[in-house]
Amino acid sequence: MSILTVSDLRAYYITRAFGIEREVRAVDDVSLSVARNEIYGLAGESSCGKSTLIKTIAAATRPPLRLMSGSVTFDFAGHRIDMHAATSSDIAAIRWRHLSYIMQGSMSVLNPVRRVRHAFIDFAHRHIARPMPEFLDIVRAHLRRLHLALEVLEAYPHELSGGMRQRVTIALATVCRPDFIIADEPTTALDVVVQKDVLAMIRDIQQEIGSSLLFVTHDLAVHANLCDRLGVMYAGRLVEEGPTADLLRSPRHPYTAHLVTSLPRIGDATPRPSLSGAPPNLADPPSGCRFHPRCPLAMDICRREVPTMQTTGTAHRVACFAAQ
């Protein structure tokens, strides 16, 4: 049973300024689903649309971003909610209790002029309806489980290091034991050593709570170490999706293949191949398959038609004419 179903989602940025109108097709016809207790990774580089996809899934779309068509539906143990048809009070009711976020900039979540304790009170107290002392006990127990020092509650955000702040944000996002967590590049700005700890923490808490996790990052190595399934986005479209091990061992889409082979590895000094060209401008994307200008396997049909996702192998989907 899928906890998240995204169908044929289309979200564009429509800007109109001084007589010039532009339409940026940030998310174009994306369909995916995430099962319970599953870590789904979303890979792709900058301007591939993954941040826009996250915003649309979280119903955080504000002009100039507009949902053009498609739907985003969550199913929290029988309680179904269509994110864009629901009222704001419905969505407020599920936020943090069923759906929470871990964002890249921890400072944008934590109020810099209040102690960390207040962040927990502001975000979570509404959902854990207990008197304050009991609530704080619950918070403290949660922190202890995550091996975080309790002094953190009394600190101001700027007194904590970047890694510590991010750990606090994770604790904040998981204190209500949500069913679904969206993580947008949570470890990208962190040092390598800290990143390893933070990822371990995310893995532990996910296993304990059993929530589903949608993890967005461009770093394939992180996906390899964390995610059960992986979806690769390019230029606003989902091009390949499948179990992580499958995708990395035998990628079917030329873009995924390139991402995998271009990863440098310690212990391997052979020069890594690189791809020519650059990701396309989404206001004026190429016709047909958006990867065809850079694809080594490009055929005539790739220029004319958009490839659709076809299933090859167990739960492994590819959108590529050459792979089919």
Binding site: I266, A269, P271, S274
Partner: protein, 264 residues
């Protein structure tokens, strides 16, 4: 024996903060010494996490900030912060930077080719447009592609290449690259890192490659130092150090690097 290209001798940089009561002194760089030889071009990597002092070190090598103690010598001459314009231009002709953020490296309101022409006019002889075109070709672009474009029209990878081309125009002996690929997309990263190897082999430019990414450093560096809290904890030949780190911090660092091979 030729003087080394770059020589750092017990260089430290201390920042003081705080008011009259309770000044705090932060040793951003503490007693760093190394040298880059002049007899053959090499890629010298400086590895460190945030707070390790690597960016401060880069700015001292580029003569943007002076060291608090110790000396930095380029081709035998000490760097001096209060140089006259001619000495400063002379230095800049031979040492050029590549900055971390390719989107910020150029003024968003101005066209990018402008910087190329300006560098050519100031530091190179001959027709500026021709020099710019030559430099762009060396990085895999051409003047026609870049002509009259604004930064927002180009990708991070392209912008970083243009920044490299600009640094090459004066035919420098040393390029200081501070985290040049950390803000570039994963799929474009290797093309730029490979470009550095090419510059060393084909053009004989030495490169100081500052990064936190051990994997890319492994691929192209000749020698390496690992910094922590302003100090050098380990140094030596790149492959030797990274295959077999000795210092506990280096071992920790290597162990924390995630590999996609974990599953494959």
């Amino acid at each position: 024996m030729m003087a080394p290209l770059l020589e750092l001798e017990d260089v430290s940089r201390v920042y003081t903060s705080g008011g009259l009561l309770g000044r705090r002194r932060v040793r951003a760089v503490d007693g760093v010494s190394f040298s880059v030889a002049a007899d053959g071009p090499e890629i010298f990597a400086i590895i460190g996490e945030s707070g390790s002092g690597k960016t401060t070190l880069a700015r001292m090598i580029l003569n943007i900030v002076p060291p608090s103690t110790g000396t930095i010598r380029f081709r035998g001459t000490s760097l001096h912060h209060g140089w006259r314009r001619r000495a400063r231009l002379d230095f800049m002709r031979q040492v050029q930077p590549i900055l971390q953020n390719p989107f910020e490296a150029f003024n968003p309101l101005k066209r990018v080719d402008r910087y190329l022409f300006m560098t050519a006019r100031r530091f190179a002889s001959g027709d500026p447009e021709q020099r710019a075109d030559e430099a762009l070709r060396q990085v895999g672009l051409s003047l026609a592609e870049v002509h009259r474009r604004f930064p927002h029209e180009l990708s991070g990878g392209q912008l970083q290449r243009i920044a490299i081309a600009r640094a090459l125009i004066s035919a420098p002996a040393l390029i200081v690259a501070d985290e040049p690929v950390s803000m570039v997309d994963a799929s474009l990263r290797m093309s730029i890192v490979n470009l550095f190897s090419l510059l060393r082999d084909r053009l004989g430019v030495s490169i100081i490659y500052i990064t936190h990414d051990l994997a890319t450093a492994y691929t192209i560096s000749d020698r390496i130092i690992i910094m922590r809290d302003g100090r050098v904890v380990e140094s030596g030949a790149a492959r030797a150090v990274l295959d077999n780190p000795q210092h506990p911090y280096s071992i920790l660092l290597k162990g924390a690097v995630l590999s996609a091979d974990a599953i494959a």
